[in-house]
C-alpha cells in the first residue's frame, strides 16, 4: 500500500538530473523566504530549461511566468538572482500574489555535466 508521506519532497532534483543527462541547460528557482500566507513553503523548487519547459512550483502559479523569464536570463549569463514578490511590490498588479503573502525566490543556473 502506498501511503502519503508528507515529509517526502517532490523529486525536482531527480528530474533535473535527468535533464542534465539529456544535455539540457537548466536553472532552478527556490523559495527562500515567505511572509504571511503563501502557497509554497521555503525549499519549494521550480526547474526551468532553455526551451521554457518547467517542473515543480514556487507559488500557486501566480509568479511562475516572471520567474521563468528571470531563469532564462540566468541560463544565459550564469548569474544568480534573488527575486521578491508580494502585494507590497510595485509589480503587484501583474505578478503579485493573490493570497496576500510575500515570497523571496533565489534563481541559479545548474552547471552541466
Amino acid at each position: 500500500m502506498d501511503k502519503y508521506d508528507p515529509t517526502q519532497q517532490d523529486d525536482i532534483l531527480g528530474r533535473i538530473a535527468e535533464w542534465r543527462r539529456d544535455g539540457r541547460r537548466i536553472a532552478v528557482a527556490t523559495v527562500i523566504k515567505t511572509w504571511g500566507s503563501s502557497p509554497r513553503p521555503v525549499g519549494s523548487q521550480l526547474a526551468i530549461d532553455d526551451s521554457g519547459a518547467m517542473i515543480g512550483s514556487v507559488s500557486g502559479g501566480c509568479i511562475e511566468g516572471a520567474v521563468v523569464r528571470e531563469a532564462m536570463q540566468s541560463i544565459q549569463d550564469g548569474k544568480p538572482r534573488t527575486l521578491d514578490f508580494g502585494v507590497s511590490d510595485e509589480q503587484a498588479w501583474d505578478v503579485g500574489l493573490a493570497c496576500g503573502g510575500e515570497v523571496k525566490v533565489y534563481v541559479e543556473r545548474i552547471e552541466g555535466q
Binding site: M1, K3, G14, I32, I110
Partner: protein, 235 residues
C-alpha cells in the same frame, strides 16, 4: 550550482543521507554540509556550520538572520524502526505513520508481524540485528524496542548504538532496564552509549494502555528530535 556540488548532492540523496546546501545569495557561492563534514567553494564559519546542522535536525530550510545565506535542507524521510510486533506496536506504528514517519516493524516470531495486525506497515521477520543492519539506521531514524525479550531486543540495540539514530528507546520497567544495561556493559558498551537509550521508553505521563504508552513514546521522540527534551522523570 557547480556541477561537482550537484553530483555530490544527488549522491547524498540517493544514499538517503542528510545534507544541506548553503548558498551565499550575493554571488551564489555554495557549500554542502553533512553531519560529519563540509565540501564546496564557500568557506563557512563554525557558527554557520552549526546553524546548518541545527536546520537539518529541525528539518527547517531558511535564510540566516543577516539575510546573507540560504540553507536548503535535503533530508531523507524520518524513519521509525520498531522491534516487536506487539500490542503497543499496533498503536505506535499508525501514530508514527500519521506523523510523517516511514515505519518498519521487525519481529521474527511467527504470527506477530502479520499484515492482518499491521495493515500497510513494512514488516520484517528477519532476526533483529540482520534486519536492522539492512535498514541502515541514520540520524533521521528512531528505534524503539518493545519485545521485553533480550534475545530480540539486545541484538537490535547492538546495531542501534553503533548507528546515528536520533532516538533509541526500550520498553521495560526500571529493573528490566537496569539488567539490560548490565548485559550491554558485558558486551563492551559504555555509559556514553547508555545515555542515548531512553528507558523506560516514553515521557512519564502515567501511561497505562497501549495507546497511552504509544503517545508517551511519540511525545518523547518529538522532544528529542527538536532538541528540547524537557520532561525526563526525576531519578
Amino acid at each position: 550550482m557547480q556541477a561537482e556540488l550537484f553530483d555530490a548532492l544527488m549522491a547524498y540523496r540517493e544514499q538517503k543521507r542528510p545534507v544541506a546546501m548553503v548558498t551565499r545569495l550575493e554571488d551564489g557561492a555554495q557549500a554542502l554540509v553533512t553531519p560529519s563534514g563540509t565540501e564546496g567553494a564557500l568557506d563557512l564559519s563554525n557558527a554557520q556550520i552549526d546553524e546548518a546542522r541545527t536546520r537539518m535536525r529541525d528539518d527547517r530550510s531558511g535564510i540566516s538572520a543577516d539575510g546573507a545565506h540560504f540553507t536548503h535542507v535535503h533530508n531523507p524521510p524520518l524513519r521509525m524502526i520498531i522491534v516487536g510486533a506487539v500490542h503497543i506496536s499496533q498503536l505506535l506504528a499508525p501514530m508514527a505513520a500519521l506523523s510523517g514517519y516511514a515505519v518498519s516493524i521487525i519481529d521474527p516470531r511467527a504470527s506477530f508481524a502479520t499484515e492482518d495486525r499491521f495493515p500497510g506497515i513494512a514488516l520484517s521477520d528477519d532476526w533483529p540485528d540482520e534486519a536492522m543492519e539492512a535498514m541502515n539506521p541514520d540520524s533521521r531514524t528512531a528505534i524503539v524496542t518493545l519485545t521485553h525479550d533480550p534475545k530480540l531486543d539486545d541484538p537490535a540495540l547492538h546495531v542501534a548504538l553503533k548507528s546515528d539514530a536520533f532516538y533509541i528507546a526500550c520498553l521495560g520497567s526500571k529493573r528490566t532496564h537496569a539488567r539490560r544495561l548490565e548485559r550491554l556493559r558485558e558486551e563492551g558498551f559504555t555509559d556514553a552509549d547508555f545515555q542515548r537509550i531512553h528507558g523506560p521508553a516514553g515521557l512519564p505521563i502515567g501511561a497505562v494502555s497501549p495507546a497511552e504508552i504509544a503517545i508517551s513514546v511519540m511525545a518523547e521522540m518529538t522532544a528529542v528530535k527538536h532538541g528540547t527534551e524537557p520532561l525526563r522523570a526525576a531519578a
